[in-house]
């Protein structure tokens, strides 16, 4: 085989962002490393993957069957890699295959077979497979016409979730509390689905949502790259959830029960490459349900790659051309193989970035339809510090956990804000804890796991003490140790100044406080993300800052 055609994901839209440039670029590099000539088609010029240095020949043409066929006719590729261009790339590859274009030109689909992709994406086929391998799926109904929809309006348990099949990022889905909403949302979903197919399923609102990024090669070797726990319980699209890696509140048995299920699924589907498995986990028992499988490289896999250092897209591309996990090297350590499971020695927090600052009138509620345009990730040795980094990295008005809107909200309003997922719920939750409602009550309202709430409570506690100390003008607790504590938990100088209320305060107290902040300021060291928690020597200059004693970045710099 000589030439491989890679289909990109096209323009950035909600649900399909820069992650596919990252994945596509890695894939092109990996395929060329393996000696293939890479032809690429993508309509988005603002990408590294469409650089002439990335692929051997680049077509910036519309992503439709017409132009793809013309590219195929011109380039006569031997293989087509469909799983790295998001849903766009996958849908297009499906159309090319079903339309006979691939057969006509003798193009082989690489990686996961199309039948497996269809089995993962078609709800009915997927459920049948899950039943075969005895993995639990929530009760659900597949609806393909308004008549069928009408027929089940009285049988379905409410609230229920509506998910259209074959759309980008869950477009057109929603939650219905009653039959009227189910009717309206269901009809819309039928129209939006490429196959006029929607699934209605039992709502698992309040259950934990956990994801596993798994990989499989053609020999059947299966590994987990990363698991992730959503801060937001079930009901919010994972692209709109605050996500933490690795999972924090699963015991070893629970972790491996879900890992085993995920690997069983990827095996049963026969995926060759990366795959994302989403699971709902009962917070009060060992029950779980398999929610969804993404049989391709996705936004979650970009996050998992950055969270662990494991290059999922690169390895997926190599698997697609027949390499096996035990042959591919671990690029990060340079000394081990890609067939292993990354061990993290830090905590990762992702927060989505929503466009509501631009669209103040948009509906800010979050459910199964993704609304975020992007995301930030933060790494630190504690959850608190990682969360604070992520918050201030969002580049929104809130640089910490204080939000005037919620600070000035009455209790009833705040209760509703905590209970309803929106882009600002984190701040509502923090305000509830700030008002002393306690972890139990906020958990009851939000269903956010108490572990997260404890940590936020910890941050809010420091924040309250800083605000108090500012009001008492230094008369209260010892300012030096409080400031030192604030630094350690992850408040930067700017936040400490703001919370003490001394940003532009040149009174004697203001000056003392600011001088104290300078004095107590701790310089971070920079630790390496090395996929192996320090077990093997690594040369990868990928760092995050933290307050510890030893500096990996300095060491590596000296060594090279």
């Amino acid at each position: 085989m000589e030439t491989i055609l890679v289909i990109g994901s096209g323009p950035i839209v909600i649900g399909q962002a820069a992650e596919f440039d990252y994945a596509g670029t890695q894939a092109c590099k990996a395929l060329r490393e393996e000696g293939y000539r890479v032809a690429l088609i993508n309509s988005n010029p603002a990408t590294i993957m469409t650089d002439r240095e990335t692929a051997d020949v680049v077509y910036i043409e519309p992503l439709n069957v017409d132009f793809c066929e013309r590219v195929i006719a011109r380039e006569r590729p031997d293989g087509l890699l469909p799983t790295l261009g998001g849903q766009t790339g996958l849908n297009l590859a499906t159309q090319l295959a079903n339309g006979g274009v691939l057969d006509k030109y003798g193009v082989r689909l690489l990686g996961t077979p199309l039948s497996a992709i269809q089995q993962a994406e078609d709800r009915e086929q997927f459920r049948r497979l899950m039943r075969e391998i005895k993995e639990p799926v929530p009760e659900s109904w597949i609806i393909e016409s308004p008549d069928q929809l009408e027929a089940i309006l009285d049988t379905v348990p409410y609230p229920c979730i509506i998910r259209p099949a074959y759309t980008l990022g869950g477009t057109g889905g929603g939650i219905a509390e009653d039959r009227e909403t189910l009717w309206e949302t269901g009809l819309k979903g039928l129209q939006l689905s490429m196959r006029s197919q929607i699934m209605i399923e039992r709502s698992l609102l309040g259950w934990k949502e956990v994801e596993y990024e798994v990989m499989r090669d053609s020999k059947g070797n299966c590994i987990t790259i990363c698991n992730m726990e959503n801060f937001d319980p079930m009901g919010v699209h994972t692209g709109d959830s605050i996500v933490v890696a690795p999972s924090q509140t699963l015991s070893d048995i629970e972790y491996h029960m879900l890992r085993t299920a995920s690997l069983k699924i990827i095996r049963a589907l026969g995926i060759e490459g990366g795959c994302n498995v989403q699971l709902a986990v009962n917070p009060n028992g060992f029950d779980y349900y398999v929610i969804e499988v993404n049989p391709r490289v996705s936004r979650s896999s970009a996050l998992a790659s950055k969270a662990t250092g494991y290059p999922i897209a690169r390895v997926s591309a190599k698997i697609a051309v027949g390499r096996t996990l035990d042959e591919i090297e671990n690029q990060v350590t340079g000394t081990t193989k890609a067939c292993f499971e990354p061990a993290l020695d830090y905590c990762v927090v992702k927060i989505p970035r929503w466009p509501f600052d631009k669209f103040p009138n948009a509906d800010r509620s979050l459910f199964t339809q993704m609304k975020a345009t992007g995301e930030v990730m933060a790494i630190d040795r504690s959850f608190e510090a990682a969360l604070m980094k992520a918050v201030r990295g969002l580049e929104i008005r809130q640089k910490d956990l204080k939000h005037p809107k919620y600070e000035s909200m009455d209790d009833d309003g705040l209760r509703r804000a905590i209970a309803k997922p929106t882009d600002e719920r984190l701040w509502a939750v923090a305000e509830g804890l700030r008002r002393g409602w306690g972890v139990e009550e906020v958990n009851r309202l939000s269903k956010v796991d108490k572990w997260f709430l404890q940590k936020i409570s910890h941050l809010v506690g420091i924040e309250r003490r800083l605000v108090e100390a500012g009001k008492l003008r230094g008369e209260g607790e010892d300012l030096s140790s409080l400031i030192a504590e604030a630094f350690l938990i992850g408040y930067p100088s700017a936040s400490i100044r703001r919370l003490l209320g001394v940003e532009s305060d040149d009174s004697p107290f203001g000056q003392v406080a600011k001088a104290e902040i300078e004095r107590q300021k701790i310089m971070p060291v920079f630790k390496m993300v090395d996929t192996c928690a320090g077990e093997f020597e690594s040369q990868t200059p990928y760092f995050y800052g933290t307050f510890e004693t030893e500096d990996d970045a300095l060491e590596l710099r000296k060594a090279t």
Partner: protein, 362 residues
């Protein structure tokens, strides 16, 4: 403090006091409760590389033995307010109750890297004067010269069946097989897995002579995991040597090393061992790779197996060390990792079934 005098300051965790042991690290991100009750950690101070430990608390079910086994515990941050439906107490409470000394709030990655480059070393957790502590540390017997197996093994035989631990005299009716287990530092989950396959285990002290083992008329013999240098366990090796060929034998971890010695091979100490839930092992027979749970500081010397009748069946994909051997002539096989998981991946459970099938073959 490590034996080279390196000092890491932290805050106390668990029981007050001082402890010494061989400092080892484990890279698993879950499983602290299982690790803390795994007898193979006897004599060792365990450092957990994942920084947030204790998040899901301690429950009543996930104990792998009846007591806490390591000499001490090192973590970056111990969670005081855990969250999990099964949690009954915190990590700190468990350690304090059971008298284990721990430390938290130090740069665990720095210590890990030191062990990675310098090899495992003795260490002390103390609140006293560093110079004096170093003297005490240097006066402690080093790990490799201690015999831990005899202190962690069961004092008297007992049985394990469907309902868990039970008296040896109880009936074996309703079970498919009877397994004799030489307990060098057994984890409960090994017994649970066999029970799930209708096998009743007779757990015997490590130093039980061969004829006493055979007197139980077992269908097979399991060589359990355990702590320390296998070459020091001559009486056990001797017993295994006599058992070989009599009954099907399966070894796990230390059991793998004991089988190697019994066949006439040798073992050696690894620089910093394998401890974690992510170790890839390649099966040389079918070419597949499995992610395994590991906890060992010694390994089988492959060259020493020449002429013993044993073949290497599995290798570690990271460093090429021996992960499994088989001596078909004497119906014995073993693996260096933990098919019982607890903690770690469940991908190797098939070995229990395989051994049961072997017992069926007589």
């Amino acid at each position: 403090m490590l034996s080279d005098g390196a000092v890491y300051a932290g805050r106390p965790l668990g029981a007050a006091g001082e402890t010494t042991g061989e400092v080892v690290f484990n890279t698993g991100m879950t499983g602290y409760q299982e690790i803390l009750t795994d007898p193979s950690y006897a004599g060792q101070i365990v450092l957990l590389t994942y920084p947030l430990i204790g998040n899901y608390g301690i429950n009543d079910d996930d104990f792998e033995s009846d007591r806490l086994q390591p000499a001490g515990l090192i973590v970056r941050e111990a969670c005081d307010l855990p969250s999990n439906w099964r949690s009954t107490r915190t990590l700190h409470q468990l350690l304090a109750e059971r008298g284990m000394v721990g430390i938290q709030g130090l740069d665990t990655r720095a210590i890990t890297k030191r062990i990675r480059s310098g090899g495992v070393t003795m260490g002390i957790i103390t609140h006293g004067d560093p110079d004096e502590a170093l003297l005490r540390l240097r006066g402690t017997q080093v790990y490799g010269e201690s015999d831990f197996v005899y202190s962690v093994t069961t004092k008297a035989p007992y049985a394990w069946g469907y309902a868990g631990k039970e008296g040896i005299e109880e009936s074996s009716e309703g079970y498919r097989f009877r397994l004799a287990v030489l307990d060098c530092g057994l984890k409960h989950n090994i017994l649970r897995r066999f029970a799930a396959l209708n096998v009743r285990s007779i757990v015997l002290p490590a130093a039980t002579p061969a004829e006493e083992v055979l007197a139980w008329n077992p269908d097979g013999i399991l060589l359990s995991p355990g702590p320390g240098d296998p070459s020091r366990l001559e009486p056990v090796i001797e017993a295994v040597r006599h058992l070989l060929g009599q009954k099907p034998v399966f070894g796990i971890c230390l059991g793998n090393q004991l089988l190697c010695h019994a066949l006439g091979g040798r073992t050696f100490k690894l620089k910093f061992g394998h401890r974690g839930s992510n170790h890839p092992v390649k099966d040389l027979e079918d070419g597949t790779v499995t992610i395994t749970s590991q906890n060992h500081g010694y390994a089988v010397d492959p060259d020493s197996l020449a002429g013993t009748g044993a073949v290497i069946t599995q290798l570690n994909l990271n460093d090429g060390t021996v992960e499994g051997i088989r001596a078909a002539g004497v119906r014995a096989s073993s693996i260096q990792y933990h098919p019982e998981a607890a903690p770690g991946p469940w991908d190797s459970r098939k070995y229990f079934l395989q051994f049961v099938e072997q017992m069926a073959g007589g």
